[in-house]
């Protein structure tokens, strides 16, 4: 669209000016309402904007995006997409194109960007470890193999986040360790390793103030907590034995600890092997309660103002999203967007939430006050939805 042209045809001098400035190019735009939606099966990304709720561009040929996640440059212009096949792709959201792509490992799952935006870290399953890249050029800067034990075994790495002080924190799934990597000198990372944090840690998150790192455990009931302001205190266990000895239900999709479903002084976490959301007091890290929900929770995410927590579920109960009212800790709405709800992402101030419904090939947008669906977009097998507001948040 070039609305100036109609006006300009009536006034040739203005037309000349418009042409001189580049004619029908679109006006400059900001990046604050942009984002990407992963088309996991097709290996494509849709660049979207949340003001008019439209797709702006499609960027294809990004490899296997079946468990893809994304971080953003600090100006919100570039998206770094981490593919399952080890691909690291840098996308220009304003230009709608791929800038650079490297295949940096055989099998990977997530990444992080440093506090100053200069380094991108990728966590790899194969070869197990973390690799650090220059955010501008995607050149390799440092390689941190996740070698543990005395036999030289390597571990898959999960729960990679950035932390203040040019640090990255991540967890070794097979080893049951959490490592803090200091990249003040990026070519010589120094590591601090915390061992015996618990069996099969499946993911990790950091609080938005960058202080606490939590690793969720699959192999036992509990969460491993590390205070990054006091590393000498080591990792301690919270919510130990939350299952109270009951036999866990089978889990058909691993929960994710993404973002910080916190509201005031409360933290909401998925229970593993139980149809429950755990509520934890941040002050003292004690269990405040648990909320029975529809299935095994996968994502438990708070609206940015902390008034609501939205939950989706593992297969085969994954056609439902439930909304928890935080003050009363009650479910106030059960939505049925369709089969295979994979992800939820709030707009920057939380008036709407975008929900990917894989088997319906659709992203649905809900108003978070009326809890009504207000729009939907056709997207091929959508999975992760990532908006540029993440660029300014620690750990995302």
């Amino acid at each position: 669209m070039c609305p100036t042209l109609t006006f300009a045809t009536a006034r040739l001098s203005i037309l000349a000016t418009v042409l001189a400035l580049g004619g029908c190019q679109s006006a400059p735009r900001g990046t604050g309402d942009l984002g990407v939606v992963i088309e996991r099966a097709a290996g494509r990304v849709q660049v979207v904007e949340t003001t008019g709720r439209t797709a702006l561009y499609t960027i294809p040929e990004l490899g296997d995006l079946s468990h893809a996640s994304t971080v953003f440059s600090r100006d919100g212009r570039y998206a770094y997409v981490f593919g399952r096949d080890g691909g690291l792709s840098k996308l220009d959201l304003l230009g709608g194109k791929l800038v650079k792509r490297v295949v940096q490992a055989g099998n990977s799952v997530g990444g992080a960007i440093s506090q100053d935006g200069s380094l991108v870290a990728v966590s790899n399953y194969e070869p197990g470890g973390v690799r650090i890249f220059d955010a501008e050029s995607l050149d390799l800067v440092a390689d941190i193999p996740a070698v543990y034990g005395d036999k030289g075994a390597t571990s898959k790495v999960v729960g990679l986040v950035d932390a203040p002080g040019r640090r990255f924190v991540f967890t070794l799934y097979d080893a049951g360790e959490t490592w803090v990597a200091d990249l003040v000198d990026p070519r010589r990372p120094t590591l601090r390793k915390f061992k015996d944090i618990g069996r099969l840690p499946y993911d990790g998150l950091i609080t938005p103030d960058g202080r606490y790192y939590l690793a969720g455990l699959f192999g036992e009931d509990g969460i491993a907590l590390l205070d990054l302001w006091d590393l000498d205190a080591g990792v301690r266990r919270i919510l130990d034995g939350y299952g109270r000895g009951e036999k866990p239900l089978p889990v058909y999709k691993m929960p994710h600890l993404e973002g910080w479903a916190s509201a005031g002084d409360l933290l909401f976490l998925p229970a593993v092997g139980r149809y429950e959301v755990l509520v934890v007091e941040r002050d003292g890290w004690r269990e405040r309660g648990r909320i029975p929900v529809h299935g095994q929770p996968v994502f438990v995410v708070a609206r940015p103002d902390g008034r609501q927590v939205w939950v989706n579920f593992a297969h085969p109960r994954n056609d439902v999203v439930q909304v928890i009212d935080v003050p009363s800790q009650k479910i106030v709405k059960t939505l049925r967007p369709g089969k295979a709800v994979l992800h939820m992402e709030f707009t920057p101030r939380g008036e709407q939430v975008w929900i990917s419904v894989r088997d319906e090939d659709r992203v649905e947008v809900y108003d978070t006050e009326s809890l009504e669906r207000v729009a939907d977009l056709p997207v091929d097998k959508p999975s992760g939805i990532f908006l540029t507001a993440r660029a300014n948040r620690i750990g995302l």
Binding site: R84, G106, Y252, R358
Partner: protein, 106 residues
């Protein structure tokens, strides 16, 4: 729940022990199973089955394991690991068909 599991075990064992040629699922059910293999099994094993938090399920990775073992794992899971039992929605015949497809490669 426990009863149902034992019953499924019994059925699976009987089917496998007698070595009866297993009927292939209907075409529609085959499509569903392959979709589920890629999408849902794929959430741990990778959509291309090259592995993730769970081990790879490509032909080279499963070649050394007997059909019976793999069927057993699909139906009843592997205790102590995240692999859960799928007998609640996959029959022994369907599991056997899936194992054959995995060994052939998708």
């Amino acid at each position: 729940m426990l009863k149902a599991r034992h019953l499924c075990c019994g059925v699976a064992a009987a089917v496998l022990a007698t070595g009866v040629a297993l009927a292939a699922p209907s075409k529609q059910r085959q499509d569903e199973l392959i979709y589920q293999l890629r999408q849902d099994c794929g959430s741990c094993h990778g959509m291309t089955l090259k592995g993730g938090l769970g081990p790879p399920l490509v032909p080279a990775a499963v070649a050394g394991k007997s059909d019976e073992t793999l069927v057993e794992v699909i139906l009843h899971g592997l205790p102590g690991t995240p692999m859960g039992p799928w007998a609640f929605e996959i029959s022994p015949e369907e599991a056997a068909w899936l194992v054959r497809r995995m060994k052939e490669g998708l």
